[in-house]
Subunit: 396 residues, 2 copies
C-alpha cells in the first residue's frame, strides 16, 4: 500500500502555487506583463556576473573529476573555510570550517538543524507571521510545531505569549529574520530579550533550549542598515542560510548550517548533520556549485531593486489607507486587508489582475502578502490597479 | 539537548572511509600512485565532453534567471520528458513525464521511493550482498531493513531464504542490479522468478508488495550485454537511478525515481514524492544540472575502462586461486578472502599497499570488495603486489 499520510497531503492545495498558476493562466489571456503577480518569492535579479564567470572558468579549466566528484561527507573544505572566514569578518564570529555544514539551501539547513537538537516528540516554537514550510520541516522530523501569536504592532516578538508557551518539552525555537512574510528585521532589543528568555528557560528546565535562526534574507536589508547577526546574541544558535537570495541561485540548492562555536556540543553537531543526511537521502549540495560559490563568497546580486520596490509599495499602500508595518528587509510586505476575510479580499483583487496572497497560512489571518521581487516597472504599473481596486471595492 | 541517536552514530566508523583515509595517508609517504587503492566507488572517467559543452553553452547564452530559478516542485518538465522518452525508447516502456520524479542522486531516489510505498513500522527486504547505506535510507524512514542471506553461487537471489522471510508486514523489496558490491547482474530468470513471488505474496497478504530497484550501474554492463530492465518484469516497480556513474557526476546529485505506469496508484506517486520532499528538506536536484542533463540524455562517459579492469583483475584473481564470481557489470568485484576473517585478510593486505575492503558490512562476511574504478595502469601494477601478498601470507 502506498503511504496514506503523504497521499492525504495531496488534497491540501498550496494557495501560493494556486495563485501563481492563476497568474500564469491569466497571463496567457492578457499577456503576463499585464498581470501584477505578487505571489511567488522568486528572486527577480540575475546571479552576479562573477558567479557565471567563475562557473565557466571552472568548466573550461579544471579537471572534471575534481569538479563533479563526490564532495566529502561534511562538505567541500574550501567552501566551508570561505564561509567561516566571511562570517567571522563580517559579524565578528570565530567559526572554523568545522562549524559549517553545507546544505541544499535553507530548507536542507533547517531539516538538518532541527533534527540535530531535538528528539522525536519535542515541541518547537516559532513566531507568527511565519514561513508555512516550517510545518513540514518540523513535523517531518517527528516534532510538533507551535506558533506563538504575532506582535501585530511591529512584527517583532510577542514575548508574553511566548513565555506562556515555553515548557520543559520545548527543545528549540525557530526564528526567521529578516522575516518572510512581514519583511520585519528583528532588532537588537528583540534579540537580546529573546536570548535572556532562552537562557532562563534553559536554566529552569535543566536543558539547553536551542535557537534555530533561518536567515536566507540576511543580505536584503534597507535604509543602509544591517540585520543584527542572531548568533551574536545567543550561544546555542544554529544559523541556517541559503544563497538563494543573495546570489539569486534558488534552484541550485546551496546553503549551510553554521554552528556557534560556543554552542553546547558545538564540535559534534556538524558530524551529526552528516549522519542525519544519510537518513534523509541527502549527500551534500552539488559539488560544482559549492566550488563556484567558494570562488566568489563576497559577490552579491544587485539587490537594490527590492528597496526601490519596497519604497514604491509602502508609499502607495499607506496613501491608500492600508495599515502596514514598513518592511526593514526581504522582498515582502504584509499589509492588513481592507476586510477581515483576507481570502475574500485577495479573491476580489484578482478582478484587477492583482495577485495578492492571503496570509492566513502564514499565521496572520486578516493580512495579505505581496512578494515584490518583480520588475520595478510592473510595480509602478500595478499602483493604479491597486488604487482602483481599493476605491471601487472598499470606497477608500 | 542534542539528539542522542545521531550522536551515537558518530561512534560507528565507516570502514570504507577509514581505509580510504589510510590510503591517502600512505600516499603522502610513498606517493599515492604507489598505493593500490581499491576502497572507494568514485568514478574514474571524466564527464562526457557533451555535458561540459552544454553547461558552458547554457551559462554563456541562457538567461541566468531561467537557469538558476526554482525548479517546479515536481522537477524540470523538459528533464522529465527527456528521461521518459529515453527509457521508453531503450526499454520499451511507456512512461510520461508525470512518472518521473527528479532527485538528488540515487540516495534521494531511494529515500523518496521507500517512503512513498510504506508506512512506519513496515519491513523492507533486501538481498545480500547489499549496499550498506540502505540501512540509514530505510531506518531513516521509520522502517526495518532485513537482509536475505546471499546466493553464494552466483550472487543472484537466494529464493528459499527470501520465501521464509516474506510476511504480511513486508511492504517493499529493495534490489540493486547491477550490484554493488558483487558486480552481479540479475538475469531474466532471476527477475521473472522474483516477480512471480512478489505477485504471489501480494495476493496472499492482500496488499501490493512494491519493488524498489536501485540501478545506478545500469549502463555499466560488460561483454556486450545489457542489464534486463527491472520494471519490465514487475508492474509495481519504482526504478531509482543516478547519473553519478553513466555521466560521471556523483557530486552533482542528479537522478530520478521512475514509476511504472502500471504500478498501483502510479498517477499519485510522483506528486506524493513532492510532498515527501518537503519533510526531508529537499527541493529538487540543482536546476542547472537538470537542464544540462536534459540537453544530453544520450551522452555517456567512456565506461570501457571498467571492463578492461574487470578482465585484468578477474584473470589475476582466478589464476592466484581466489574463488570469485565473474562480475557482469559495475566496477566492483567480490572475491572470497583467503581466510575466514576478511577483516584480518584486508588488514594484512595493507602491508602490500593493497587497499581492499572487507565485505562484512555488505552482508558478505568472508569476502572482500575491490572497487576497480581506478587507472588501468594502476590495476596492472597492483597485480604483482596481489601475487606477492597471496604467496607470502597464504602460500598460494
Amino acid at each position: 500500500m502506498i503511504n496514506e499520510q503523504y497521499e492525504r497531503m495531496l488534497g491540501a492545495k498550496n494557495i501560493i502555487r494556486v495563485l501563481s498558476e492563476f497568474a500564469t493562466e491569466r497571463g496567457r489571456e492578457i499577456g503576463y506583463d499585464n498581470v501584477f503577480d505578487y505571489s511567488l518569492g522568486n528572486p527577480s535579479v540575475p546571479a552576479p556576473e562573477a558567479f557565471t564567470k567563475e562557473m565557466i572558468r571552472l568548466l573550461e579549466e579544471e579537471d572534471p573529476m575534481a569538479l563533479h566528484g563526490y564532495s566529502p561527507t561534511l562538505g567541500n573544505p574550501l567552501f566551508k573555510e570561505r564561509i567561516a572566514e566571511s562570517l567571522n569578518r563580517r559579524f565578528g564570529m570565530n567559526y572554523t570550517a568545522g562549524h559549517i555544514f553545507p546544505t541544499t539551501g535553507a530548507a536542507g539547513a533547517v531539516a538538518h538543524a532541527v533534527r540535530a537538537v531535538t528528539k522525536p516528540g519535542d515541541r518547537v516554537l516559532t513566531f507568527a507571521p511565519y514561513f508555512p514550510e516550517y510545518n513540514p520541516y518540523v513535523t517531518g522530523a517527528g516534532l510538533t510545531l507551535e506558533v506563538v501569536p504575532a506582535d501585530r504592532e511591529a512584527f517583532q516578538i510577542n514575548f508574553d505569549a511566548f513565555e506562556e508557551m515555553l515548557g520543559d518539552d520545548v527543545a528549540a525555537v525557530l526564528i526567521n529574520t529578516p522575516n518572510n512574510p512581514s519583511g520585519a528585521v528583528y532588532t537588537e532589543e528583540t534579540l537580546t530579550r529573546l536570548a535572556a528568555m532562552l537562557t532562563d528557560a534553559s536554566k529552569k528546565y535543566g536543558h539547553t533550549v536551542f535557537l534555530l535562526s533561518d536567515e536566507p534574507y540576511r543580505e536584503i536589508v534597507f535604509d543602509g542598515m544591517a540585520a543584527p547577526y542572531v548568533s551574536k546574541y545567543y550561544d546555542h544558535t544554529l544559523s541556517c542560510y541559503s544563497f538563494s537570495k543573495s546570489l539569486s541561485l534558488p534552484g541550485e540548492r546551496i546553503g549551510y548550517v553554521a554552528v556557534n562555536p560556543a554552542c553546547e556540543k558545538a564540535e559534534v553537531i556538524v558530524p551529526m548533520c552528516g549522519q542525519i543526511s544519510r537518513g534523509l537521502g541527502h549527500n551534500c549540495p552539488p559539488s560544482l556549485i559549492q566550488i563556484a560559490v567558494a570562488g566568489c563568497t563576497d559577490a552579491v546580486s544587485d539587490l537594490s531593486v527590492y528597496e526601490t520596490n519596497r519604497n514604491l509599495l509602502y508609499e502607495a499602500l499607506t496613501r491608500l489607507g492600508y495599515s502596514v508595518v514598513k518592511p526593514g528587509g526581504t522582498f515582502y510586505i504584509l499589509p492588513k486587508a481592507m476586510e477581515e476575510d483576507s481570502v475574500a479580499f485577495c479573491e476580489k483583487a484578482k478582478d484587477y489582475d492583482l495577485i495578492l496572497v492571503p496570509a492566513d497560512g502564514f499565521g496572520a489571518p486578516g493580512y495579505f502578502r505581496m512578494a515584490y521581487c518583480i520588475d520595478t516597472d510592473k510595480v509602478r504599473r500595478s499602483i493604479p490597479a491597486l488604487e482602483r481596486f481599493t476605491k471601487e471595492v472598499y470606497g477608500c
